[in-house]
């Protein structure tokens, strides 16, 4: 579904990704693990076209999409839930969802479907996003991305700062999307959460994809966590 091959990317003159390769297939959850500053968020931003690639190949369903302007990437069906949610804070819940729907020209049926997944948001449609609790904001960020009916979903630390009930709600949504055939790339600091849902785990180290393992292999070799994550 989404394949990155030998990606190099830079912030100005500072190179942040070095020959990074990974692949997320349909109905698969790929987790990225690594130390702070390893380049996990940059991987997400590079896929979205927000950080320019200097070389390498980025393919969606075998079509090359590298070099596209950033605004064209989500129209291809790549949804993004950024770290820290990045909601349009002064806009209402309804308006945030509307932005998501407009991305790929989706209508009221998709909106109803998404609100069905997060009924609490239906009660808050006219409330400004900045007035929601942290958990509700994460729900909205997820709902906004689901309004694209994405083929690929990128989640950057979706459980950061959330209470356990909210974490399990987000996990259930992610698992349901996987069952529907969505390819998911998840950046997560909580190793237990990763082990619960992941099909594959790629360790990112200094902007490189250092190793890809299965959850079973990770459980069997705890030294990997010490080596790549420092825990």
């Amino acid at each position: 579904m989404l394949k990155l091959t030998d990606i190099n990317a830079s912030y100005g003159k500072v190179q942040v990704l070095r020959d990074l390769s990974l692949e997320a297939k349909a109905g698969e959850i790929l987790c990225l693990l690594g130390r702070n500053g390893a380049g996990k968020t940059t991987v997400m931003k590079t896929i979205m076209g927000l950080v320019p690639m200097t070389s390498g190949s980025l393919q969606l369903e075998a079509h090359e999409i590298s070099g596209l302007p950033a605004y064209r990437v989500p129209k291809l069906g790549i949804g993004y839930i950024p770290q820290g949610r990045r909601l349009f804070s002064e806009m209402t819940v309804g308006e945030n969802l509307q932005i998501g729907l407009m991305t790929r020209g989706k209508g009221a049926d998709v909106r109803e479907h998404v609100l069905g997944m997060f009924p609490l948001l239906r009660e808050r449609l006219d409330q400004r996003a900045e007035t929601l609790s942290g958990g509700e904001q994460q729900m909205l960020a997820t709902a906004r991305a689901l309004c694209l009916e994405p083929k690929v979903l990128l989640l950057d630390e979706p459980t950061e700062g959330l209470q356990p009930s909210m974490i399990s709600l987000i996990r259930d949504v992610v698992v349901r999307l996987k069952e529907q055939g969505v390819a998911i790339i998840l950046v997560e600091q909580r190793v237990d959460a990763v082990l619960e849902v992941a099909d594959k785990i790629t360790f990112v180290e200094n902007g490189r994809s250092a190793m890809t393992v299965t959850p079973a292999e990770l459980k069997a070799d705890s030294s990997l966590l010490q080596r790549f994550v420092g825990v």
Binding site: M48, G49, L50, P69, A70, Y71, R72, V73, P74, K75, Y80, P82, R86, F88, S89, E90, M91, E95, Q98, I99, G100, M102, T103, R104, R144, L148
Partner: protein, 308 residues
């Protein structure tokens, strides 16, 4: 004239100034709010609006109403297109970097000003108002016979000045409806709040910037077309509106459209009133002093968000 009628006259003049200033400052605020660009050339887009209004009315001939209506539509449109082109040719090339765009728009200021001087010349030229009926205004007094209305000599305005106020109010309502009730308004607000996330949701931010830069310039040009039958078109006329617009935008709060409108009415009215009773220079001095006080005691402006 007695103080009461004199004050009313000054307030009417202030309201006309406030109307034009609101449109001009709204353009500057829109550009800063969405693009984070301090457009030093904003006053020159205002001047271009006035100069184009003179050119259009001179070229067309015919009734003053038709000439002026054409200028009112075409001049802001042409200035908006020119600004969109400037965005594409200049601001996009410097990646909308806050410092470099200041330098770039200073350059743009001089280019527009000097090209206008070379083509339009140094003269101030009038544009005929489409209508200009003098309207006497009543005042009141409490005399021996109780409350009574009378018509003081000199207390009057013109139908055109009332039109300027009405046109500004209608434009403000239009801008508000555009921002609050339409799809393009939603896109503009999303870009203003977080341009990176806006791109991640399919919003072509660079095109939106070109649109906003054009809209901002068109609003300034519209203000100038409205004012040019009262003042005159001149190649140096952009300096005062630029200064006053910056004052308004700083007092109102950078990027706050509501603050811009309130501050424009405040500054425009006080500028008009002080100019009538004292001198225009004193009005500018006091406005600048007010900006200094706002910067010291409330740097985010009256309606701006407090920095985190």
């Amino acid at each position: 004239m007695e103080f009461g009628p004199h004050l009313m006259l000054a307030m009417l003049e202030g309201l006309v100034q406030a109307s034009v200033l609101t449109l001009t400052a709204l353009g500057l605020s829109l550009v800063f709010g969405v693009m984070r660009v301090v457009n030093v050339a904003h006053g020159e887009f205002y001047m271009l609006g006035a100069v184009l209004a003179w050119w259009i009315t001179s070229l067309l001939g015919g009734s003053a109403l038709i000439e002026f209506t054409a200028a009112l539509i075409l001049a802001p449109l042409l200035v908006g297109l020119l600004a969109g082109l400037a965005d594409w040719l200049i601001l996009r090339r410097v990646d909308y970097d806050p410092e470099r765009t200041i330098v770039a728009t200073i350059g743009l200021l001089y280019i527009i000003q000097q090209v206008t001087l070379m083509t339009y010349g140094p003269d101030a030229r009038p544009v005929a108002p489409p209508f200009n009926t003098r309207l006497a205004l009543p005042w009141f007094e409490f005399g021996e016979n109780g409350f009574a209305l009378y018509w003081p000599w000199g207390l009057s305005t013109t139908s055109y000045k009332l039109f300027v106020i009405l046109a500004a109010i209608l434009t403000l309502i239009g801008v508000w409806l555009l921002m609050a009730k339409t799809k393009i308004g939603l896109i503009l607000r999303a870009t203003q709040l977080d341009s990176e996330t806006a791109q991640a949701f399919g919003i072509p931010v660079e095109r939106i910037y070109a649109l906003v830069f054009g809209m901002g310039a068109a609003l300034a040009a519209l203000g100038a077309v409205l004012v040019v039958p009262i003042q005159q078109a001149h190649y140096l006329m952009g300096a005062d509106p630029l200064l006053l617009s910056f004052i308004v935008v700083i007092i109102g709060g950078l990027g706050s459209l509501r603050g811009t409108v309130v501050a424009a009415i405040l500054i425009g009215m006080s500028d008009g009133i002080i100019s009538v009773f004292f001198t225009p220079t004193l009005a500018k001095m006091l406005a600048t002093l007010l900006v200094a006080m706002v910067l010291v005691y409330r740097p985010q402006g009256l309606f701006g968000a407090k920095p985190a």
